[in-house]
């Protein structure tokens, strides 16, 4: 077997020409959301080059300086905090951290859930029963509480925290994957390919996964903002990302102390959180309508 001759060709509906036409037909809000997300990705990837100041650099002469538009100096476009650290620089690093956590968290959740869903559908019987019980359990407890208990028991390090975020909503992928895989196995293309003598690797890797990918991607647009909100909530409470690292939630939590004297410290990251989650939700809604009318 070679992979080349079975490589999925691009969908007939997404040749470059039609993509260009679709972009032209993007709803205005979706275009804005895409632009914003592109900006966030650029900031996250290029943080090292964009950073005007080190995030721990003190500028004691300019403590609690207001942003440019509120009478501050251009040196600190979003003002400074109590220690004179540049809010703009901290914001850039926070965006990188929050996106990083949400990205890997979503990836882990999707991978874990999809793998468990396939396992359940492949082995049926006891494997499936155990996985279904785990799904029920996960769905019946608010994840915030599970996350808090795990943090209490294990303490907090960044890898552990990212891994923990990866447990958020894995059950969504497990459910979807199991359902779609069962349907495909019972009748249809997967049964047909199995009947041709294909092994599980080919059936799941080359046929089922590509077929359910669009549904999974749409689900990822739900998980991503949820993880951003969860991470920032925990970090806000001081239980997520730990100093000296900083995330959007950390910044809001820190800025809360100065809400009367320097509200910009808290408003800048809060705005980024809201705009980012809003953008992904808009994009996800739009994608869902385009890719997968069957979902919800």
């Amino acid at each position: 077997m070679t992979v080349r001759d079975a490589l999925p060709a691009p969908l007939p509906t997404s040749t470059p020409g039609t993509i260009a036409r679709r972009v032209a037909h993007l709803p205005f809000a979706v275009s804005l959301a895409t632009l914003w997300l592109a900006l966030m990705v650029v900031i996250a990837l290029g943080a090292d080059f964009l950073l005007p100041y080190s995030i721990t650099a003190f500028d004691l002469k300019a403590r609690l300086a207001p942003p440019v538009l509120f009478g501050g100096a251009i040196a600190h476009p979003l003002g400074t905090d109590e220690l004179g650290r540049d809010v703009f620089s901290r914001l850039i690093m926070s965006i990188r951290m929050s996106l990083l956590i949400a990205f890997f968290g979503t990836l882990i959740a999707a991978t874990l859930g999809t793998a468990l869903g396939i396992l359940a559908a492949h082995f049926r019987r006891y494997v499936e029963t155990v996985i279904l019980m785990a799904i029920d359990f996960q769905a019946s407890m608010p994840f915030m509480i599970i996350a808090l208990s795990v943090l209490a028991f294990f303490g907090n390090t960044l890898p552990l925290f990212i891994g923990l975020m990866g447990f958020h909503s894995w059950e969504r992928y497990a459910r979807i994957t199991r359902g779609l895989t069962l349907a495909a196995n019972e009748q249809g293309y997967a049964a047909a390919v199995r009947q041709l003598g294909a092994g599980p690797g080919r059936i799941y890797g080359l046929h089922i996964l590509p077929n359910i990918a669009s549904t999974l991607i749409v689900s990822m647009t739900l998980t991503f903002p949820e993880i951003i909100l969860l991470e920032s909530g925990l970090s806000f409470l001081g239980l997520g990302v730990q100093p000296p690292l900083t995330s959007l939630g950390n910044m809001v939590g820190y800025g809360r102390e100065y809400i009367t004297r320097a509200p910009w410290i808290m408003l800048a990251p809060a705005t980024v959180i809201v705009l980012t989650t809003l953008s992904i939700s808009l994009l996800g809604d739009w994608l869902r309508d385009k890719l997968d009318p069957t979902l919800r």
Binding site: R4, Q187, G188, Y189, Q195, G199
Partner: protein, 327 residues
């Protein structure tokens, strides 16, 4: 030469009959003691109402699902366990054609890639040879070369079924199990596909297990016919004589239901629906709907017995000449 021989195949499912988690468990006997032989290059037609176990029999014969009991021998050897390496290695020899070709195809892949897939799976031939062979087979089933890069949804129903057929033919199988291969197609296309199947058999010497509820088509394609009722074969024999002189009351009812031109015939109408397969009637499963049922039929299950004209019939009253006249 006998290509495939199935002996006393059974497939039972545990189902929950009562209500609630503590409801009574029951057994659904989807296939309950079916034996059949498929000769190389010949067609065995399998007919019966929906739910009688024809499709399950087709899957059992190919080893797609494990039998509860019974054996399948292919070319003199036992069928390896479902899903094992030996079982997979045997797939090129026997293939399946489905009722719903759109469902049997991956809608994300061009049909050409899917036609080549059996060779890719079994590591046969180089990519260039696969492509060449696919083009050949596509021509053989009446597809055009330029349709190689089409996606399933861009083809018509008949063309899709040709794609499924082409894929099945790539490894030059000896046996095709055709599960209602034409019932999802437009009537105008049905004849084309049937003719294609007949033509392929002539040229390639493939054996078919042709599963259908459409007796006219079965009559047209089959050399032998087996009639199933509630998981068992009730009558089996050479196609022409079975259709000309059906013996089992159930077969007679089915045959008399075929619409024909010409003067009105006496028709044997079936009363009611087939019984629930979870709760098969005692004795002869057909006695609840049989106009000729007697006390023995209720008490004792008939077994397949050879008749004078070389057929096999499972009916207590098959030998009574009076019944033959009554039909």
């Amino acid at each position: 030469m006998t290509l495939l021989e199935a002996t006393d195949l059974r497939r039972h499912y545990k189902v929950r009959a009562g209500r609630g988690p503590f409801g009574a468990k029951a057994t659904l006997r989807a296939v309950d003691g079916v034996s059949l032989k498929i000769e190389a290059g010949r067609t065995l037609g399998l007919v019966g109402e929906s739910g009688c176990g024809k499709s399950t029999t087709g899957k059992l014969v190919l080893g797609l699902i494990a039998a509860t009991a019974g054996t399948v021998r292919y070319a003199g050897n036992d069928m390896p366990p479902t899903g094992s390496a030996a079982w997979r290695a045997l797939r090129p020899r026997m293939q399946m054609v489905y009722q719903d070709p759109l469902g049997a195809l991956d809608r994300r892949l061009p049909v050409g890639v899917q036609i080549m897939e059996p060779l890719a799976i079994h590591g046969q031939a180089s990519p260039a040879e696969r492509r060449e062979r696919a083009a050949e087979v596509m021509t053989a089933v009446g597809l055009q070369r330029h349709q190689f890069d089409r996606y399933p949804h861009e083809l018509s129903g008949g063309q899709r079924q040709r794609v499924v057929l082409a894929r099945a033919l790539m490894t030059e199988p000896d046996l095709l199990v055709c599960d209602e291969p034409i019932s999802a197609l437009d009537v105008s296309i049905q004849a084309q596909v049937v003719n294609l199947l007949l033509d392929l058999q002539d040229r390639l010497g493939i054996a078919y297990l042709f599963i259908s509820h459409d007796l006219r088509v079965v009559r047209q394609v089959s050399h032998e016919v087996a009639v199933m009722y509630l998981g068992r074969i009730v009558e089996q024999g050479e196609a022409e004589s079975l259709f000309a002189q059906p013996t089992h009351p159930y077969t007679r009812a089915l045959v008399s239901a075929i619409p024909v031109l010409g003067p009105r015939r006496e028709r044997l109408l079936l009363q009611g629906d087939p019984p629930n397969p979870v709760d098969v009637p005692s004795g002869c499963a057909f006695h609840t709907r049989c106009p000729f049922a007697v006390a023995t039929c209720r008490a004792e299950a008939p077994v397949l017995q050879p008749t004078a004209d070389g057929r096999q019939v499972a009916c207590h009253r098959a030998d009574e000449p009076a019944l033959q006249v009554a039909a």
